[in-house]
């Protein structure tokens, strides 16, 4: 019977530890993936943007709490895909070099040469491993790093974009956790037929991007459409991002949204006004007068904090720097008062996603906790039964002079010992399962055709398999307490036993 109690504790401890570790690992992986393209702190003034950003970046990078900063333009637009579908898309205009310093941009580039197969790709079927494509993959990678692509027809290197790997729907995610690009897609023609279009976007594919530009006061001016060649595709690890994001060069977005540098002119109100042309000396209709330069703008500056810096402290420091920056450009950039809520950490930005997963983890833990709590009653029932069985022995101990508390302590100590052994075994078993969870999962798949974590469904190729020490300690302690709690009532009962009745018990 004590072995049954020990097993109950062991199983509940192992279950909770496995659940908490996998769900916690899932959250951690998700958050890290989300963070990979955001940086640590963002300074954002959506749509209209703000000028003098290079000066702000310079000021930010001088601070020791900050490792780097990069300008980006983030907006929404419409994308025309190879099959003529038009979808809403998030467009990020980036400077790839500084963007990579602040984020993990180059790590997310998908089409690049690989030397080793990824974790689930046991048969090495990933096209990126194929030696005959190594050169092409290296070129695609280089194109993504520079956001350019060579146009063979024109002989020119053109600005290009990098698409989320799920945007076109032409990359099929396999059960090995890799992508199998389709050779071609199809597009409907006006005569009712269909025609082939390139399926592998980095090799000649392009998309149409339409954005609505705004003037400096925020009023819409006109829609702008451009064809953007695709240099490569990226995978961040967050499906929503990979399904609806495109990176394009910062300059392209500045041009399309009219956020680039422009001359300020004073319009001539009298249409019949004339002036002398200083070159020819003849009179001509009065030209608009250039009164200044409207500097280029971006909507966001991403900041990467120094290693080990506290995120909230970095955010506060960025705000202080912005305040000093604003004092230099009063009236030209958004006020620091307005920016108070626009300077945010990546945690603030992803609060909805993070909280959703946290709540999900909490809910699952709660449910498993309730289920595991039944082990308290199981231990109680087992101890109750053991005490009934040992009634006569309790009477003997009392006859030999044992006190009521001494008898109770005996059972509580026994419960504690069983709890300690059960919780130790459960923690060890949980740890062993978590660190081998992918091998176990693979074995289940091979043996019983049971695939729980399907890479086609889940974005992470492997199940998170990290056990955090603090979680293991908490689960262990709770496991021991479960057993102690379960033994309390039976121990109390044993202490209250009438020794004479106990001795006569049959």
């Amino acid at each position: 019977m004590p072995i049954l109690a020990m097993l109950a504790v062991m199983l509940s401890v192992a279950t909770i530890l496995i659940t908490w570790s996998v769900m916690g690992g899932f959250l951690k992986t998700l958050v890290n993936s989300g963070r990979s393209l955001i940086g640590d702190v963002t300074v954002s003034w959506p749509n209209v943007g703000f000028a003098h950003y290079e000066e702000l970046i310079g000021m930010l990078e001088e601070d020791e709490m900050i490792d780097g900063a990069t300008p980006i333009i983030e907006t929404f637009g419409l994308i025309q895909l190879p099959d003529d579908r038009i979808e809403l898309i998030t467009i990020k205009g980036i400077d790839p070099v500084s963007y990579d310093r602040v984020t993990n941009y180059t790590d997310t580039i998908w089409w690049k040469p690989l030397e080793e197969p990824t974790a689930k790709d046991r048969d090495g079927s990933d096209v990126r491993l194929d030696p005959q494509f190594t050169g092409a993959m290296a070129m695609f990678e280089s194109n993504a790093v520079t956001l350019t692509r060579f146009n063979q027809d024109s002989g020119q290197t053109e600005r290009a974009g990098v698409l989320g790997v799920e945007v076109t729907g032409l990359n099929i995610r396999t059960e090995d956790g890799i992508y199998d690009p389709r050779a071609f897609g199809f597009r409907a023609t006006p005569d009712g037929g269909v025609e082939r279009v390139p399926g592998f976007m980095p090799a000649g594919g392009s998309v149409g991007l339409t954005v609505l530009s705004l003037d400096s006061t925020g009023k819409p001016v006109d829609p702008v459409t451009r064809t953007i060649p695709i240099a490569n595709e990226f995978q961040s690890g967050i499906f929503e991002i990979d399904q609806s994001t495109i990176f394009v060069p910062l300059e392209t977005m500045q041009e399309m949204l009219r956020l680039d540098e422009a001359r300020k002119v004073e319009l001539v109100e009298n249409p019949f006004a004339t002036e002398v042309d200083p070159v020819t000396g003849k009179r001509r209709p009065k030209m608009s007068e250039v009164v200044g330069i409207d500097p280029a703008r971006v909507t966001t500056v991403l900041v990467r904090s120094a290693d080990g810096a506290d995120l909230q402290e970095v955010r506060d420091r960025v705000y202080e720097i912005y305040t000093a920056f604003e004092e230099k450009h009063v009236g030209e950039v958004p006020s620091s008062f307005s920016m108070e809520n626009q300077i945010r950490t990546w945690e603030d930005l992803n609060a909805t996603m993070i909280n959703a997963v946290k709540k999900e983890t909490g809910l699952v833990l709660f449910i498993f906790g309730i289920v595991s709590f039944t082990s308290v009653f199981l231990v109680l029932a087992i101890f109750w039964s053991m005490i009934s069985e040992k009634t006569k022995d309790i009477g003997i101990l009392r006859a030999l002079g044992a006190s009521t508390t001494g008898v109770a302590w005996l059972w509580i100590r026994y419960g504690t010992a069983i709890g300690l052994i059960g919780a130790s075994l459960g923690t060890a078993a949980g740890y062993a399962v978590v660190i081998n969870i992918n091998s176990i999962h693979d074995w289940l798949g091979r043996t019983f055709n049971l695939v729980i974590w399907d890479p086609r469904t889940y974005y992470f190729i492997e199940i998170p398999s990290e056990v955090e020490l603090d979680k293991a300690i908490i689960v262990f302690v709770v496991g021991v307490l479960t057993c102690v709690l379960g033994s309390l009532i039976p121990a109390f009962r044993s202490a209250r036993m009438d020794p004479v009745k106990a001795l006569r018990f049959e």
């Binding site: 006569k392 003997i396 009392r398 006859a399 002079g401 006190s403 001494g406 001795l503």
Partner: protein, 249 residues
Amino acid sequence: MMSNQASQSPILDVKNIRKTYHLGRVKVPVLHGVDLNVRHKEWITILGASGSGKSTLMHIIGGLDRPDRHPENPASIIYGDRVITSMGAGALNAYRSTEVGFVFQFYHLLPELDILQNICIGSMIRYGRFGYRSHRKGVESRAMELLDRFGLSDRMKHRPAELSGGERQRVAIARALINEPALLLADEPTGNLDLKTGESILDVLAELRQSSGLTMVMVTHDERIAARADRVIRLIDGRVVEQTGVGSA
């Protein structure tokens, strides 16, 4: 067999012991005002039929049970200069542990422990978990001495289930004696043994009393066993109806 080695000074003075058990709503009176006096080193036998209340009386004397309360005519058990009936639970535990040794009809050994551990457990309870460590050597030495005396020195690592009935009862006697009590309470110690083995157990007890000067109170329904005591107290329906033997009051 009568012996006259008992001293005149009383070790136990029992007065007006009443006990009623409650079986649901039914009251079952067991003892109806028992008076008893036991002298130092005396061996008395309480003789009575089954249900006469002799075991209950022994439990009350041993501090395992308490007599009924009758404020107008209170019960009292005086052991030496201590009033057992006024003791709190802690003092009663100490009394059972140090002054009294119990021997039961069905031995009541702990099956998970070996013989040596079964004997030493009384001392473990007496000294407590930590105190026992400092007394351990002395206690084990005494346990082995008792086992040797009872011819069981080669069985000390055996479990109770591996011993015969007579051997188990000897172990139970050794356990009762481990803390060197002044009073041995034996409840039908031969009741579960054949005649020959029972005789051998009585010989052991008689020899013990001779050598150690124990005071013994034995409960039995067997007239032959009772005959070996200094004094026999006959109990019928919870009342002392007769006392016979040396110095009988």
